[in-house]
Amino acid sequence: MSAVVLADLAYWQVSILRVLGLLAAVLLPAGTIVYLFLFKMMSFMQSRLGPMEAGPYGSMQLLAEVGKWLQKEDLFPNGADRRVFAWAPIVVVASTFIMYTVVPFGPDAWFADIPTGIYFALAVSSVSVIGILMAGWASANKYSLMGGLRSAGQLIAYELPLVLAVLGVVIQAGTMNMQGIVEAQRNGEMFGVGFIGNPYIITQFVGFAVFMIAMQAELTQPPFDMPVAESELVAGYMTEYSGFRFLLFFIGEYATAGAFSAIAAVLFLGGWALPGIGFDADIMNLLGPLVMLTKMMLIVFLVMWFRFTYPRFREDQLQIFAWKYLIPVSLVNIAVTAVLKVAF
């Protein structure tokens, strides 16, 4: 249906629709994550209520916060590299936006159907490191600099297990296209039982665990929040930011959480597909985004649960964990997956 409608439109009209859709896809999950998990779940875990005044049950709190940030002065510290300082948050947010483009939300509800989608998403996710390094360097603050450098070291170390964990899925699905991975899971079967397809969380459980841990680190959430460690580095690379630019970092943090969880939902939880409804059914263009949102929230719930429970690692322990445990485990996972793929 929508495919028919889209086909009738001019290229520029489709592009505008896609951009608006992407904005919604980035901002809506980010807002939901902030309200559901950062405001409410965190509060309930810590035996308090969280925001209650703004809107029913505090649901408008985020709007109030955004309004507050927008009103603040656009500060540049003395000695800051102004142009780099100003661009750093935009680079971080841009990488998140580009990551979302390859995530499918339905048979026709996608922004860009790239044949090597997952490869592209993981590649652009590393662009945010550049933004963080820029912020750390340009702030002319020692805490920021240390935060930026820690961040670079951490993100580079955890990129590897992340990619290696995805490789298992790619081997099993036989494609790098995100839509193809969804289809492979939907049409797959476990031991001859094909009723719910074959979500790779079952066959690739090791990969899923490694992916979740590496994702936690990529998002710099505790226990891997060395770059922003608030008790040591004040706020790491974000220390000197305020107002709108801080808001961009803030959106970036939770939108990236949404983007990674969307990718995890596609790779391991079967994406937008529902059992019993045809793969190309038009109704899935409406239901698909809701299914995806549910799965994303499940994954972000796990991330946030760890975040509010664990103390943080030290920098060297964090590197040891990546290089000595996660990477060997994911390499073994790849080897086993490859052997089984050939055998069966």
């Binding site: 929040d225 460690a229 008790s231 103390p311 943080r312 920098e315 060297d316 322990q317």
Partner: protein, 390 residues
Amino acid sequence: MTAISERQQRAYIASQAADMRVNVELETEGMTLNIGPQHPATHGTLRIIVKLDGEQVVAADPVPGYMHRGYEKLTEVRTFPQVNSLINRIDWLGSFANEVPFILAAEQLMDVEAPPRAQWIRTLLFELSRIANVTLFLGDMAVQLGAVTPVFYAFRDREYVLNLIESATGGRFHPNFDRIGGLKDDLPKGWIAETKQVMVKVNAFCDELETLLVGNEIFNLRTRGIGVIPPEVALSYGLSGANLRSSGVDWDNRRDTPVGLVYDKLDWKVWTHPDGDSFARYWVRLQEVREAAKMVIQLCDGLPPGPIMAKVPRIIKVPAGEAWVATENPLGEMGYYVVSKGDLVPFRVKIRSASFNNISIVPWLLRGVYVPDVITILASLYFILGDIDR
């Protein structure tokens, strides 16, 4: 020319060598980082000048004094009962414990002894303020290590204890309840039963933290073997309280120098830990909260009847003389050296607060550690800014 001992010479050469190592051997530039006076980890205005080589600390120098309020001098223009309200503000988390040694010193000079019931209630409130103080440490240490949740549990359960203190004394934070010769008031009705219920909650809080933090692998990774203080070093720097006991030194003023309080009538234990690292300091404090809860229940059960105030004149003039009384406060040994010339006001009061000595070990302890460990060590030493700067 001043004589320089061999030890000083060696220390100088070592410090020079440390600077050289930064600049020449590794060809890296050192960085001086000011941790504080405004920094989340110092929960107050302590400034620590840290020389860094990468993330490794080459030298650390604590600069206290940003919150100095001149209490020792202020006491000289206040009458003895007025001083009492002033010294509440030294260690603001366990205020009642600050009053006790001063009052005991004044009583010693006046040759007055508080009636038994007053002594028991004093001990009771003393231990309650220890719980109120140390539970916050137990949560705060977790925050410094990056776990945000335990501190809220600490605030939640500490509130019950503060409510007890408030209903008994009228003040949540600064009771100003102790008087020369006894106490201001007796305990309110129903307070004893409520206290026992709260102690159940305090024990539950300790169990909760034991499973949430002490058993956590990351917490163990971050604290075990970090900031090890050998017993002889701890003694030479004048550490006291849990910081000393976690180095394996079995010393507790409550047991070893009992003055005016009834600890000798209670069944309790001094906890020590042989390791002397940050984990040991956390663990010892956790046990001490439990021990304090145990003591509070015993104190509630054994509270003798009788008056709460001895006979003291209405206008208190303390006879000439000098007295030193030290008690085991939540942060460590706290003592007052009171000199009186037979006036309404003390002639001189020297306050020995625990935190000031406890952070004196910082330059020795921080050398060679990484920046995240600086925070762990500072948190585990547990200082209160008011207690450092007075």
